[in-house]
Subunit: 303 residues, 2 copies
């Protein structure tokens, strides 16, 4: 059975009932809702679900429709870049499905969302224009800038009207799994977070496959990151660089958080690298060997 | 189906054919051999297998018999403490089996190994004398001391003859999963490794649930450790202490290694602690949520 993951982000992290309504519209389809995460500070939420491609497409369209009905970008506030009520809708191949199939899925969903009257931008592997592979480019200036500039040829949607309403627009894409990862600094100076973000991110000549911005959350400076290919730029590489930059700025990382669901492989890779273990230790866990031998991969709890 | 793990350690890490012969005698039974690890430096090997309790018992007795036939403790050399050809035979409950059942298994196997003419000492949860819960106590002085002292009342075996031959004796036990973990120091001074081991281990007033010795391996000082309860004293706690002690001794940890198979949970716990993530991140991996939702816990590879 082929399995696709969809991780839509919505511009609502405070009104629980709105996020519940969106989740319910997804659960109306035979998909598996794996996680619902409300981020009050960023006023943003992430729902993670998975299932067979055609059903995931139906559920994604329903989620976009519900979000558009309840979220008004003209009154929304939050520090995270966003262009729409349903802000991004990425599809990730999990099992027995190719990236090309996820690209086709993004196009099919984009066509249906466009028909609802919402402008659609295709991004990453689904992009039709090379510059739109970059989500930051698609969302530049946020909802406010897009509302002003949607008539400009460079901002013409891939699907839907060249006209933006209260629900904004949506970026629909296909991509590899990403790790959404925030590190809090022991300072209230957001400029330090911005300076560190600029130094470590790929676009500033820092680490490849890393996006980063500096924001202020509850009075604490935060480096908010997306690691877009953890096999190329690992969590350990990112943390090592982050600790060094923080020290150079006279501060330190107090704690971190992961948004949404992280591939276990990324955490295991981190442990192996940080402990200085041989790389093949990844395949040397009791659970993985037991799974290979018996076909039963259930975790062992040892509680 | 109940599942028990058995991780016998043998005093042979150089003659591949001997270890192969032992593994073959295990594979003659319907168990799953998960790992075969030869440690040339310690001249020691570890075979990890799992299966239903009664079959695991049969395979364990066969392995002890094969090891006794091919390994002569009178000519064996190696820095690791050992008392026998098959040196230790621990049983660990994995699924749908209690520690009490593993204790019963250790007794049953002990009785059968004793009948082969090999002295048996029951240790950890299977111990019949409180002091024998401690494997280090059981193995004190190694084969050489035991050969001299076996007539002393304190060293009377739990099963088998009060008489030691070339195959030595065997410690048979039941225990929770342990992590056998070595850290290499950037020094050839084994006294530093011994001093660090003494400072960090439970018996020296260091970290609870940690055993440690200092040894010299290929000209590099090594702290060789057993973490006997990784939920109580985590890999991260051990590493933090180890780094601090190494620094205090003017050296550092160059790399580490895990012997045998490590529970994945211990590595995930390490990542979560080291990254400063909320503890519940452990349950927030994509694989664990997908497993709970679909019943399919196979790892995702994203290669």
């Amino acid at each position: 059975m082929s399995l696709v993951e969809c991780i839509p982000n919505f511009s609502e992290g405070r009104r629980q009932w709105v996020v519940d309504a969106i989740a319910e519209s997804i659960r109306a389809y035979p998909v598996h809702v794996l996680d619902v995460n409300l981020d009050h500070d960023h006023n943003r939420s992430v729902i993670t679900f998975a299932g067979e491609p055609a059903v995931v497409a139906d559920a994604a369209v329903a989620a976009v429709r519900t979000a558009a009905a309840h979220i008004d970008l003209q009154t929304h506030s939050g520090v995270h870049p966003r262009i729409g009520a349903a802000d991004i809708v990425p599809f990730v191949p999990l099992r027995d499905v190719t990236m090309a199939e996820c690209v086709a899925l993004a196009h099919a969903v984009g066509r249906r969302v466009g028909a609802l009257g919402i402008p659609v931008y295709l991004y990453e592997a689904a992009a039709q224009r090379p510059e739109r592979r970059d989500l930051a480019y698609v969302r530049r200036g946020g909802y406010e800038a897009l509302a002003r500039e949607i008539d400009v040829p460079e901002r013409e949607p891939d699907y839907g009207p060249t006209l933006i309403g209260a629900a904004g627009a949506v970026a629909i894409g296909a991509r590899a799994p990403l790790i959404a990862f925030n590190a809090y600094l022991e300072t209230d100076d957001v400029e330090i977070a911005k300076s560190i973000a600029k130094a470590i991110r790929a676009s500033g000549g820092g680490l490849p496959y890393l996006k980063a911005i500096g924001v202020l959350v509850n009075g604490q400076a935060q480096v908010s990151m997306n690691a877009t290919d953890f096999r190329q730029t690992s969590l350990y590489t990112i943390m090592t660089r982050l600790h060094a930059e923080a020290a150079a700025h006279g501060t330190r990382v107090t704690h971190t958080e992961l948004i949404g669901l992280t591939p276990q492989a990324a955490l295991l890779d981190y442990a192996v690298e940080s402990l200085g273990l041989p790389l093949l230790t990844r395949q040397r866990t009791l659970e993985s060997r037991l799974g290979e031998a018996t076909g039963d991969y259930r975790p062992l709890t040892f509680e």
